[in-house]
């Protein structure tokens, strides 16, 4: 009874902080928006632009349904490449994120892969973390301006994603070599021994951990979502390696975090009228199909495949972001580059991001196809055996 009360009170405290955090969530997209970027101008969409958004949406949805996050890193620049100002692209990405995550979360809940309670705890603390991230971002922006802020974002992005990505890749390889479904995290075992009340049980995820372990993890997810725009790339590995949640459960639970962050972010952007509903709906036309294919895909593969896909995307995206660093150094006057080189680096960075998304899609669909063929072959083999006997 006392335990239940403590859990309730910790949720109330988190909820209050969450409500205080909402007004600034509009900035939770990671892109450092300067006054010049906040332009309310809607692009003219032609058939080619529409098809481009639908395909981008499908790939983003596919990855998101499979690994719980991803897509924002390419969808926002994707919309900007059509001529949309940064604020419109960020707002539209937010508005596209919450329905997609909602559909993905619902699907994976039906497959028994989602821990809603863990999702709510993670999501609320992530929203508060976003607030912290905005302070960091604003401080850097005020001190070093737009280029300084972009440089900080890129360096943090490359460092964090490379380190976490390499570790996940190493870990997934370990599972492949040992021919097991997945590995066990030693750090999570240690975290489970931290007995500071309130202790919270998550039945679906089959873990019992202290609130003081979950809350900082959620905060870190939000902080990174606000600074480098890919909170899920920290939230999912965090749940796997710190809380000891299985990759399938962690990636599904991340969709709840994405839903709440997307919804609260949309409210703030939409109140100022920055959402371009046409781009949102075109992205959704592809992503609502993609997210369901991705969700189905998780039932076809071994657990470590989620780590493998996530690590691959993280590493390629970090290369893409690394390519953009010389441009920011040039803007800060630290190195000299001519305009042609700047444009080339910019294009290369965007193309590599698209490649990361496409490669992720190929791995997911390829593995589903392979598994389906294997099962068909097994069924055929069984039918032959039955006929013989």
């Amino acid at each position: 009874m006392r335990g239940r009360k403590a859990v309730l009170w910790s949720l109330v405290a988190l909820g209050t902080l969450f409500l205080i955090s909402i007004p600034s969530l509009a900035e939770a997209a990671g892109e450092a928006l300067g006054p010049g970027d906040v332009v309310k101008q809607f692009v003219r969409l032609d058939a080619l632009g529409a098809i481009y958004l639908i395909i981008l949406g499908f790939l983003g949805g596919l990855i998101s349904g499979f690994i719980g996050s991803g897509g924002a890193f390419v969808l926002t620049p994707g919309m900007m490449s059509l001529g949309a100002p940064a604020a419109i692209a960020v707002a539209s990405n937010m508005c596209h994120k919450f329905p997609k995550s909602m559909v993905g979360a619902y699907k994976r809940y039906k497959y028994g892969q989602l821990d809603l309670k863990l999702g709510v705890f993670m999501a609320i603390s992530a929203v508060i973390g976003v607030q912290l991230g905005i302070y960091v971002q604003k401080f850097i922006f005020a001190r070093w301006g737009s280029a300084g802020s972009n440089l900080y974002v890129s360096v943090a992005f490359v460092l964090i994603l490379t380190l976490v990505g390499l570790y996940m890749l190493y870990d997934a390889r370990r599972a492949v070599r040992a021919s097991t479904k997945d590995t066990v995290s030693g750090l999570a075992e240690k975290m489970k021994r931290i007995n500071i009340p309130p202790m919270i049980s998550f039945n679906a995820a089959r873990i019992r951990v202290s609130f003081w372990v979950i809350a900082p993890l959620g905060l870190a997810t939000g902080l990174l979502a606000a600074t480098i725009a890919v909170g899920g790339f920290i939230g999912v590995p965090g749940m796997i390696y710190i809380l000891g949640v299985s990759p399938i459960m962690a990636s599904a639970t991340e969709l709840v975090v994405a839903f709440l962050m997307g919804l609260t972010g949309t409210i703030t952007w939409a109140v100022s009228g920055f959402v371009d509903i046409r781009m949102v709906l075109l992205l959704l036309a592809g992503s609502l199909i993609g997210v369901q294919v991705g969700a189905v895909g998780t039932t076809y593969v071994r657990e470590y495949m989620i780590k493998l896909v996530m690590a691959t995307i993280m590493l390629i995206v970090s290369i893409s972001r690394g390519i953009a660093i010389p441009t920011y150094l040039h803007e800060l006057g630290l190195i000299e580059l001519n305009q042609g080189t700047v444009n080339l680096l910019d294009k290369a960075s965007f193309i590599i991001m698209c490649f990361a998304l496409a490669l992720g899609g190929v791995i997911v669909l390829g593995n589903m196809w392979k598994r389906k063929k294997e099962l068909q072959a097994e069924e055929a083999g069984m039918a032959v055996n039955l006929q013989k006997s």
């Binding site: 809607f42 508005c95 559909v103 299985s246 459960m249 009228g273 509903i277 709906l281 969700a295 099962l375």
Partner: protein, 78 residues
């Protein structure tokens, strides 16, 4: 897997509804964009539109995948 009747009819029905909703919005895109950009109370319209489309198009996507035989292999926690 495989033995259940495929919901092709429902996929087509929801596909038509979804297409009609998209056409209705895009044929009036100027009015919609202008009003939604006003912000304030129109934020509710933005969120409701996203929700309604995700329900309609989400249902279509669900039946489409089932009709194509893209279904989960196993239910329950791993």
């Amino acid at each position: 897997m495989g033995t259940q009747k495929k919901p092709t009819g429902r996929a087509i029905l929801w596909g038509i509804i979804s297409l009609a909703a998209y056409l209705a919005l895009f044929l009036n895109q100027d009015v919609v964009t202008r009003n939604f950009a006003r912000g304030g109370i129109f934020a509710i319209a933005v969120i409701l539109t996203a929700m309604i489309f995700s329900f309609i198009h989400g249902a279509f996507a669900n039946y489409l995948l089932e009709a194509l035989g893209i279904q989960p292999l196993k239910k329950g926690v791993h």
